[in-house]
Amino acid sequence: MSELQLLTGSEAVAHAMRQIDPDVVPVYPITPQTPIIQGFAKFVADGRAHGEVVNVESEHSAMSAAIGSALAGARTITATSSQGLALMAEVVYIAASMRAPIVMAVGNRALSGPINIHCDHSDSMLIRDSGVIQLFVENAQEAYDVMVMAPRIAEHPDVLLPVLVCQDGFTITHSAEPVELLPDEEVARFVGDYRLPQPLLDVRRPTTRGPFAMPDYYYELRRQQTAAMEAALPVLDEVGDEFERLSGRRYGAVERYRLDGARSAIVAMGSTAGTIKDVVDELPGFGLLRIGAFRPFPAERVAAALAGVERVVVLDRADSPGGAPPLYAEVTAALYDSGVELESHVYGLGGRELHPSDIREVLAGHAPDYVGLRSEPCPV
């Protein structure tokens, strides 16, 4: 029997970690991720999980320890946010290049500066090109579910890449909602044993990991990461199918919502998708394409899902000063030559709220490029 509990996204992910029961959890606290590791550490202290929580001295060390343990042959999970992810960034690239199947929960939070603790996606975008899989969830239930799916994706032999389960800071990490937990034994069976090909501690088959690569090999090894990332899309489908059979809930690279017959579509990620669903429920002709997988970006599926739409509005919760916002850049590339009308809006930086009225304005074509920003009136 599944059980329904009132849980925040952080608590739900801590339960997923308890049920996955990783071997090693090297982690450093940072708002708004802290309740995730706090919850998991309590499960360990209470004897309900058995992982080794390693209290490292920084996020740089957290990811370094995670690489070592994951490649040694231990299932490894960590978590971070914002500045923690920024400090970790150097080692995140190395984790991906060493093909370490680490799972990381991210509570998305604006990067400094100015210093802030609330949600936007700038932290994830900082490591956009690192070669890690980034899955964005809409609510606490999905944070739990995708966390349960994550080890299967990360550890798949065709993939072997870190998987980040990204949930909006505070909006999801700290907001309680009813969450259905799967029975412990079903999660254990679903996740299975950690089986890394050629773990570092297999002394009968010694290996060297992370070798120096000069111009004669760096390029080839980087190309491998692209191939692994491409392989992750079908693996996500496969794991999603299996998870649906287990739970009745389905998660994929994209979610189509009221797109059949829609003339206009919004493209967005994270908790904002929930607000958008409420708005388009009352606006015939408008639909939502929610991006679940930002990396690998499912460009062909985005193009297919938006094929019949005349106008596409992309909402980015991150900007790129001097360039196109990251999600808009992806969607534009996916829809190149389709003739569709494209619009870009930035919103919600540093935790700025996005109200249903803002979304209605966006859909009506009346919203400024920077939604929810205080600005002087436009001179006539």
Partner: protein, 93 residues
């Protein structure tokens, strides 16, 4: 140098297994001097073997026999550690 391989054939993440590297002739980097030994002075204490950073001190079982100049970089540590003065640095032609 072994033939360069393609990205498809490389092990994931550039994993390296033992024996996959050809014996490198790092002694080619040696500058100026190389060690020479007068075995009549050697007491086989093996301090040179213990301190050599490049595994250039050659043993027959536990007996010092000389140097492997393919990997000796001429650092002079062996000559400095030798307690009997058996090792001398000489010009490297």
């Amino acid at each position: 140098m072994a033939e360069l391989t393609t990205w498809e054939r490389l092990p994931a993440g550039g994993l390296v297994e033992p024996g996959s590297t050809e014996r490198p002739r790092t002694g080619g980097w040696r500058t100026g001097l190389k060690p020479d030994v007068d075995l009549s002075l050697c007491v086989n204490c093996l301090l040179c073997w213990l301190h050599c950073p490049d595994d250039a001190v050659v043993l027959d079982g536990e007996t010092f026999t000389g140097f492997d100049y393919d990997v000796c970089k001429g650092c002079e540590i062996c000559a400095l550690t030798c307690p009997t003065g058996a090792i001398e640095m000489v010009p490297d032609e």
